[in-house]
Amino acid sequence: MTSTAAPPVPVPARRAPAARRPRRKWRGWLFVAPFMLVFALTFIAPVVYAFVLSLFRDQAFFGGTVFVGADNYVQVFGDPKFWEAFRRVLVFLAVQVPIMLVLALIAALAIDSARLHAAGFFRIVIFLPYAVPAVVAALMWGFIYGDHFGLAADLNHLLGTDSVKPLSQNWLLTSIGNIVTWEFVGYNMLIFYSALKVIPKELFEAAAIDGAGTFRTILSVKLPAIRGAIVVATIFSIIGSFQLFNEPNIMRNLVPNMIVTNYTPNMYAYNLSFNGQQYNYSAAVAIVMGVITAVIAYVVQLRGSRKEM
């Protein structure tokens, strides 16, 4: 794989016309080669290296590493800690992603319909949380959830109850989902909005002539027209959910007992390497997660584009 990144680098030709033709063919590499070189170092090499690592195992007592073939993978598939983490992100994915995308879609449609005043203002404000680092978002919401000086305490005080407990075991995953939703609705809204903006105006005129109302236009014209954008946003969101790490890892400061080291698959892989020194097994976990993510993203894309026909 790596060899594709080191093509014969062309010399931009400006000599005899006869020599120009064959060299001309390679000119594009002048621009692409620098990217591909760094790409090989930061994308391709680590993937290959992770795969190699995953085939070995450290001999804790005897020293050295031995080749174990697929043993690490067999172990991942039978590892209850891995599957517990996996189920958790699956639940998260099934609930959080639809809520976030529907909110983003509603926001985009509202801003796109000419009826909303100050649409530009809404657009930029809703997008704003995307510029907030996940660390700050998680810290901020973590404080807000807390009963020290957060809003949860105020709300309880106001309602005269103590039932609002975002940091309790039952609500924790929902609370994390809320942070992620807050961060990314605006980003997805922007993807939908920019797709809505380029729908040809004739389609709306045609729909109006056919007597379509607002909702009918949305259902029959706008949504089909931005299907590509919806598929892209869904794929990015699925990848994001499977890779959940920052928010729960930062909130561990607040509730260390509830967020276990295998809270998400990514946290599990991280803790295996950095607290357990099990690099080889961690590489296998990362690869399994990567493959599962890629397969699901691929299936979503296939289904998404098939409907188009």
């Binding site: 926001a107 657009r123 660390v135 809003l151 920019s194 790490f245």
Partner: protein, 269 residues
């Protein structure tokens, strides 16, 4: 919509309000009202002064990672996106497939293997460990590529060639100008990514002197919450606010450019 606006803004307003409070006032007053005293500037001073000014150092590190990492990523993505859009060369399809495949590979999945590889190369715990992986933005490449396909007519390039300009010169003098909205969009997004990056520096760096703001802030938060904690909640809050401000300002100032860059990019979808 108004309700959603409230949901978006309340946490940010909460952060601003609470960054103006002293440590005791944080505990004694309600979350959405100001404390008795206005301590914002005092807090900012303390944030920068705490621990021999480590926050200032983190800010400098973040700037370094953003300027070199995000800047480099934008340059590489611009050149490669343009190359893919406007040249037919052997291996083009291969490049296309590999890079699009990479969009689907989340950066976090690569981080652990990259760490292991970099530690073999002796790069961990140096700024390079954060900068080098930040140099690649498949999304940026994709955006420029789609944008260049639209924004640069082939006739323009042909005309320049007939005038005897070399390919590099055409790129520098003709192409770049046409690509400005696309480049600004990519710059902003790579900037956000690098400024907000947490996972990569977290694993690559072990010495606080190389931390960016995100990792540093979380360390403060751990310190404020841990056993026998030093209560520096006011510093965590003020530091958080200071971390957000540059990006928010950048987005507000450049909104016209990046929004037009994005919608032009989606034409091809």
């Amino acid at each position: 919509m108004a309700l959603y606006l409230l949901y978006t803004l309340v946490p940010l307003v909460w952060l601003i309000i609470n960054a103006t409070k002293t440590q005791p006032a944080l505990f004694s007053t309600s979350g959405l009202s100001f404390g008795d005293s206005f301590a914002l500037f005092d807090n900012i001073g303390k944030t920068f002064g705490y621990n021999d000014g480590i926050f200032f150092r983190w800010l400098g590190n973040t700037l370094l990672y953003v300027v070199v990492g995000a800047g480099g990523a934008t340059i590489l993505a611009t050149a490669a996106g343009y190359g893919l859009a406007k040249y037919r060369f052997p291996g083009r399809r291969g490049v296309f497939a590999v890079v699009l495949g990479a969009v689907a590979v989340p950066p976090t999945a690569l981080a652990v293997p990259t760490f292991l590889m970099f530690s073999k190369l002796g790069l961990t715990n140096t700024p390079l460990a954060v900068i080098i992986p930040s140099l690649i933005s498949p999304f940026g490449l994709y955006l420029i590529w789609v944008y260049a396909a639209d924004a640069i007519p082939d006739e323009l390039l042909e005309a320049a060639r007939i005038d005897g300009a070399g390919e590099l010169r055409i790129f520098l003098t003709v192409t770049l100008r046409q690509l400005v909205p696309g480049i600004i969009t990519v710059t902003l997004f790579t900037m956000v990514q690098t400024w907000n990056n947490y996972f990569l520096p977290l694993i690559m760096l072990s010495e606080p002197k190389w931390y960016p703001l995100t990792v540093g802030l979380n360390q403060w938060s751990a310190q404020a919450n841990g056993a026998g904690a030093q209560p520096i909640f006011n510093l965590v809050l003020t530091g958080s606010l200071l971390t957000i401000i540059p990006l928010v300002v950048a987005f507000l100032l450049m909104q016209r450019f990046w929004q037009s860059g994005l919608s032009a990019g989606s034409v091809k979808q």
